[in-house]
């Protein structure tokens, strides 16, 4: 199993989620995060004090999937999250050793 972690632009969340359903992904977990990268933020000015906002709002998606669909999931995320403009984000893939569904105790592939 893989944990696919994608950092994307917030307004792309719904599109990404919809892109994953046809692949059989039944669940995922989302966090609001702040991203620092090549994309530069707005400047906020308060009575002359300027604050360049280095950290931009992003959304982090974590989705655990079986190895067999991992590549397709990655592609689907990339396709759905892409605007082509700087700051679109990244996808990182890690190995999951074990997975458990809390409600039933089912393990691994059945747990997802």
């Amino acid at each position: 199993m893989k944990l696919i972690m994608a950092i994307i632009k917030p307004f792309k969340l719904d599109e990404v989620r919809e892109a994953l359903t046809p692949l059989g992904v039944q669940g995922l977990t989302v966090s609001e995060v702040k991203g620092f990268g090549r994309q530069k933020g707005q400047t906020e000015i308060y009575r002359g004090a300027e604050y360049v906002v280095n950290f931009l709002p992003k959304v982090k998606i974590e989705v655990a999937v079986n190895d067999d669909i991992a590549d397709r999931v990655i592609e689907a995320i990339q396709a759905a999250a892409r605007t082509g403009k700087i700051g679109d984000g990244k996808i990182f893939v890690m190995d999951i050793g074990q997975a458990v569904r809390i409600r039933t105790g089912e393990a691994n592939a059945e747990a997802l």
Partner: protein, 452 residues
């Protein structure tokens, strides 16, 4: 400018003995400021229910300016970890000053015949019977109306030292400041004899201050500047992100300040009459003009019109029209507002950054600068038909000098007295929270609470 500077130098000292000289050189007819007892000195005054209704309302409006108005205006501008502590300062000052005003403050400000300070003979509001009048309203109402002014003035100062002062020291400072700074200045400007003539030496001299340009705003603004300098800047000032955490609070606060200010200015007529109506109208006009002039200045220079900008401009306009409100007409108000917006923008941005003090929420930048602008322009735009005194535009150029003189005296006295008070308190109990407390935020470290 050399003349007033000389006056300022003369004007300072224990006895401020230049009253004679100055009254010869400058004083016009005595301008009845608050007119508490002004109406018909000959006939026995009777209670007027209409005037009383308006003054009861005005008192409620001015209290609303401090809580929740100012508490919100300031609370929205600090970082999230300090919002409760900041709002608590306004609230606690309200409570503390109420009790002190009742115990002795009112007596110090509004009794006696000395031109410099009131007496101690009416502590605990002695002599406030149900029937006692001040002009056409009950004295209890006059006392309450004045109390709300005594509350907001120190509360304004808290903006200058936001995020870093010990709560205990703040209480001690505010209490002392009320008695040592506010009460005498209030007496100098607003104390009237039973026949309506001025008793305080600035009032006698003809300094015009309808609703508190010197007594309230310059006073608080200068005290704030001194406090900001004595306490030093916030940790991380200039490097950390100190952006206001929630300007919706500041918009609510500024709006309630605006609405409440009708009580402040139109209430200072101490009657529901044409002068009150005109005071309300010019308040509205100057406020809107200053808000727009700040906004357009910022838009031009910084490319975006900000919410903090427009509300700051509105407060700047409210401050500047305060001394002028019973003396000028609509076009004067428009001019005062336009100037105040630009000047306070400069005060809260360029000036502050050039001189590098950390007047955190611009108590000086807005109230100090706005108060000075307003006090001086009152001397320019005063209309004889409205407030009984002509300004420079109507040929009475000396009034401008009188105004500058009033500004100067207030400025110097406040600066020195505030500085001494703060230094003494610093020695005795310390002024600042520890660096850890400051980093953690006042909410949790001083009050044990937080926004969840």
């Amino acid at each position: 400018m050399s003349f007033p500077v000389k006056k300022i130098l003369y004007g300072v000292g224990p006895a401020l003995g230049l009253t004679l000289l100055a009254s010869a050189g400058l004083a016009q007819e005595a301008a009845p400021m608050a007119e508490a007892a002004a109406a018909a000195p000959a006939a026995t005054p009777v209670l007027d229910a209409g005037n009383t209704a308006w003054m009861l309302t005005s008192t409620a409006l001015v209290l609303m300016m401090t809580i929740p108005g100012l508490a919100l205006f300031y609370g929205g501008m600090v970082r999230k970890k300090n919002v409760l502590g900041t709002m608590m300062q306004s609230f606690a000052v309200t409570c503390l000053i109420t009790v002190l005003w009742m115990v002795i403050g009112y007596s110090l400000a509004f009794t006696g015949e000395s031109p410099y300070i009131g007496g101690l003979d009416r502590p605990y509001l002695t002599g406030h019977e149900k029937e006692t009048l001040a002009g056409t309203i009950p004295e209890s109402v006059f006392m309450m109306f004045q109390m709300t002014f005594a509350i907001i003035t120190p509360a304004l100062i808290t903006g200058a030292f936001a995020d870093r002062m010990k709560f205990s020291s703040m209480l001690v400072f505010m209490g002392a400041w009320l008695l040592v700074v506010y009460a005498p200045i209030c007496h100098w400007v607003w104390m009237l004899a039973a026949d309506g003539s001025a008793v305080g030496f600035l009032g006698q001299m003809g300094v015009l201050d309808f609703a508190g340009g010197t007594v309230v705003h310059i006073n608080a603004g200068i005290a704030g500047l001194v406090a900001a300098i004595v306490l030093g800047p916030r940790k991380g000032y200039g490097t950390d992100n100190m952006a206001p955490h929630n300007l919706t609070l500041s918009v609510i606060g500024a709006s309630l300040l605006w609405v409440g200010w009708f009580g402040f200015n139109a209430g200072s007529a101490v009657a529901a009459d044409g002068r009150a109506g005109m005071a309300m109208a010019v308040t509205q006009i100057a406020t809107a003009a200053a808000a727009l002039s700040w906004m357009f200045t910022e838009w031009l220079l910084r490319k975006k019109p900000s919410v903090l900008g427009i509300v700051s401009g509105a407060v700047a306009g409210l401050v500047a029209i305060t001394p002028a409100s019973g003396f000028v007409g609509p076009t004067g108000a428009l001019a005062i507002g336009l100037v105040a917006g630009v000047m306070c923008y400069w005060g809260a941005t360029s000036l502050k950054h050039a001189l590098k003090y950390d007047d955190s929420l611009d108590a000086f930048g807005v109230h100090g600068i706005g108060g000075i602008v307003g006090a001086i322009l009152t001397g320019v735009f005063a209309v004889k038909a409205i407030g009984g005194t002509a300004g420079a535009l109507e040929g009475n150029t000396a009034q401008v000098l009188t105004q500058i003189y009033g500004v100067g005296i207030t400025l110097v006295y406040t600066a020195i007295a505030t500085f001494i008070l703060l230094k003494v308190i610093d020695l005795v109990m310390g002024l600042r929270v520890s660096p850890e407390e400051e980093r953690e935020g006042l909410d949790l470290s001083l009050h044990g609470e937080t926004i969840h």
